[in-house]
Symmetry: C2
Subunit: 537 residues, 2 copies
């Protein structure tokens, strides 16, 4: 603590799939306190709350009340852990999974919290991993290709199954009365920020990051044209004007002040400046201090998003999005991703009846590259980059009765590493340089073997920042930017530099050259098998 | 019991992979008593007894002392359970896994029981599933094809990795001093019968069944020629004369009387007639009362052997053996097989961390044909019929994070059923009629879901005999035949008919037509994927 006065601090709120984390950081980057709160309803995958209706396997929902309640508890906990006074907080940043989206009424009430609709699954927020919009995604792509829509080139030529318009169109086609009753379609991150700052739906702050990467929006062209939307479904023609009100705000800009009611529950000053939301993965880029071009920031969690800022504006097949100023001002922000990473390993753990990862890890470490003949394609939740196809499925092959759970586990990690290598090769081959590798998120800290396998397969050193708070710290930095003069940073770069300067020593994981050599032919074989499998489906 | 006098009985000894079972049956087929004894050393898969040397995964050995000790205990237990006097036993039949084989000295001592060799893994009996002879099998096939050896046509054109000569040649090439020190190479079943009856090595009784199906022997041509054997390895030229002494005896023929020492340990009369050995699976054919052509007897255990007697002598690709009078006199006996059945399901159980099959079965029953998209090729121990390639490996594909252990389990059972269907199609397409299906062995009783899936996939009713003693009962029938006038049967057919007449009611498992319909395209897809996988390796 400065002796002169109580230090100023910012809060980053990092909304994950299972829980929200709050991080209190001072403006020199000292992490003062944090707290995590798990959502009461977690992921809603099996049955609808209340009715007990069984959900099909492609459904993945969340409960909007969880977001508010868990955020309040996490902020209270983090402020308490930091030992500061709430008055010291000058700004709040928010990152959120995306595209997690919901239908709401004009006053912001989620449709699922209205008694008329609570018993209907399409009234509930769809989690990013909801995969119900398969046929809609096909048509969205088909019509876009037929019409030669220019937005396609920003997304590697393919609109993803998990994005905003597919999820909205699914509801229109499967539950038209829910679509009709909806006044506002919006991202969950935007909904949460709207709840913090209040105000009329016409002025609700929508994140340019979420709109750019998941909503087919660009600063130049806006959302897709009404001609295109009408070609998808007559009722969609004017959906942007009629059911997507709001103003588009870049992350780090102040969209308003904290409403008194929530300020009281959180123990923070009313009117604390709030930043526009950012996608959780994208928040990781400032969070690890990456402010230059060519740094691949691998934000690794249940799924992985690999972010890269570049001076190059190139069309790269299968890239999930290229948005100007989408991550940091002054760069083209590339987003790529893998649909199942920590989730996939946890599924292998459950599938093999293990209570935890101890035995799996101990045995997997001892196995050589190639897992003694076991091969994996890790498309257990589809393939994001480069194929953008949520319908693809995973496989284990080369199996004999001498193999056990650890073989499956190591093979799944190797497949994940081959997937990253594939993404890096795609970027480089299309003229987007990649010069440094940073592994962020919780997974690299829990799973050092995974980082080593990544380094060996890439044949490149990987930096693992000491802070586990990548996205949460990035959000806090955006919160400090939103505070404007109260925080006093002259630029985003200055804020990033200052607030990541105290993050502790970065661990460098070097590739082991004989393992890299062993992985080279295995990677080529993986590419061949991936080609075959994707063409077969 | 007859009031006139104590009934006559025969004993069948059924040597499996983990244990031996003894069954006491009277001559009208009443099962009077049985007992099973697990081998003290079970399967030796990980480390060599005594030295603790770690074995490579392709090794599978057994301990010869286990066979004697467990047989003594099982006979004692079965006679006691039957409540008879040992004096009532008129004959003993023996079935054994094959090709389980060993090197011995001239007096019958297994090399591994000689102090000079006990510490060497190649001195130990190789269990049927030992897969160390891959390169030798390749050369045995290559040289046979080059020379146009006529024996190939009896084995579907391929000599198997698990057979007698590959295993012997492996030892010659990997541990030549062990080969040199060996006086007698022989099947474990023949070794056990030799221990029962004693006598000089020159007269040791070798089973025509084991020699015919696993030793490339036929009544017309004998063993492979010394020219062929010399082409494999100079030292093999005269191996048949020098290291394979004995006389070839058909199952059911009396090869001698029980030696006093073992008679005393077993509690049976000295000089009880002993039948030549038979392969365990083949004993199942008389054991289920199948004495006519066209009955596919599926003996299902850790692996499966599917036996068929036919009037047709046809060349069928991938059939594991066609031996005249190999199963019952007057027929061409066809042997086909699947390398991993119960073993594969047990591996899936262990892989998925299940203590038993209860949960797996309960959940798998509820899944539809096709296991909700999970696909399996069950070559976890290679593929026997029709591809005869122990190097092939298994796979699971179509996997998503919504799948659990029961999906893998059901998919493995479906793959097993597709494998049987493939065998049946091969037989029929090549002019060998198949008109009835009998499921024998322990597995059909433990796993009714598996039998139902087989029936659905075949689109045919499957008979499940009430007796679980298929091979043990078949062995007892051969024991009664060996007893000659003491038992009083005029022919093998009469013995089969009489001694299976009391086996209880046969259960008929009918196919469910809508499931059969659903499996048809899935089977075609399995054939396509099996073709692709086998060509890839």
């Amino acid at each position: 603590m400065s002796s002169a006065s109580a230090k100023k601090a910012a809060i980053g709120l990092d909304f994950g799939t299972e829980s929200v984390r709050a991080l209190v950081v001072d403006l020199e980057g000292h992490e003062l306190g944090e707290a995590t709160d798990a959502y009461d309803h977690g992921q809603i995958l099996d049955v609808l709350p209340g009715t007990g209706e069984k959900l099909t396997p492609d459904f993945a929902l969340q409960h909007p009340t969880d977001w508010i309640d868990s955020a309040v508890k996490a902020v209270q906990g983090a402020v308490k852990a930091a030992g500061i006074d709430g008055e010291q907080v000058v700004g709040i940043g928010v990152d959120f999974t995306s595209c997690t989206m919901l239908p709401a009424l004009a006053d912001g009430t989620p449709l699922c919290l209205d008694d008329r609709f609570a018993g209907e699954k399409f009234a509930w927020p769809k989690l990013w991993k909801h995969h119900g919009a398969k046929t809609q995604t096909d048509r969205i792509n088909e019509v876009a290709r037929e019409r030669g829509e220019s937005f396609l080139s920003r997304y590697g030529g393919v609109i993803g199954l998990e994005w905003f318009f597919p999820k909205m169109l699914e509801t229109l086609e499967e539950a038209e009365h829910i679509y009709d009753a909806t006044d506002v379609w919006l991202e969950a991150g935007d909904w949460f920020v709207w709840q913090l700052v209040g105000g009329d739906a016409k002025e609700l702050p929508r994140s340019t990051c979420q709109a750019g990467y998941k909503g087919m929006w660009s600063a130049e062209d806006g959302f897709p044209s009404s001609d295109y939307l009408a070609a998808l479904h007559p009722k969609l023609e004017n959906v942007v004007e009629e059911k997507m009100p709001g103003r588009l705000c870049p992350p780090g800009s102040c969209v308003g002040g904290l409403k008194p009611e929530l300020a009281e529950r959180m123990g923070l000053p009313a009117e604390t400046p709030i930043s526009a939301a950012i996608i959780d993965a994208h928040a990781g880029v400032p969070g690890v201090g990456a402010a230059e071009a060519g740094v691949l920031v691998m934000v690794m969690g249940t799924s992985s998003c690999h972010m890269l800022n570049s001076h190059e504006n190139k069309t790269v097949p299968g890239v999930a999005g290229i948005v100007k100023d989408g991550i940091l001002p002054g760069f083209y922000g590339y987003e790529t991703g893998q649909a199942a990473v920590g989730d996939a390993f946890d599924w292998v753990r459950r599938l093999t009846g293990q209570d935890d990862f101890h035995t799996l890890t101990r045995e997997a470490v001892e196995l050589p590259p190639g897992s003694e003949g076991v091969w994996c394609i890790d498309w257990f939740n589809g393939c994001r980059t480069p194929l953008m196809d949520g319908r693809l499925t995973g496989q284990f092959t080369g199996l004999t009765m001498n193999h056990g759970p650890a073989h499956l586990y190591r093979a799944a990690m190797e497949a994940s590493a081959f997937g990253v290598r594939w993404i890096v090769d795609m970027l480089k081959e299309n003229g987007v340089p990649v010069t440094r590798y940073v592994a962020s998120g919780g997974l690299p800290h829990h799973n050092p073997l995974l980082v080593q396998i990544y380094a060996d397969v890439l044949g490149e050193a990987i930096e693992v920042p000491a802070s586990k708070q990548g996205p949460a710290l990035g959000s806090a930095i955006l919160g400090a930017l939103a505070a404007g003069p109260k925080a006093g940073f002259a630029s985003a770069e200055e804020a990033v530099k200052s607030m990541t300067s105290a993050s502790g020593e970065t661990k460098l994981v070097e590739p082991i050259s004989e393992k890299s050599k062993a992985y080279e032919p295995l990677y080529q074989q993986y590419r061949k098998e991936a080609d075959r499998l994707s063409q077969q489906t």
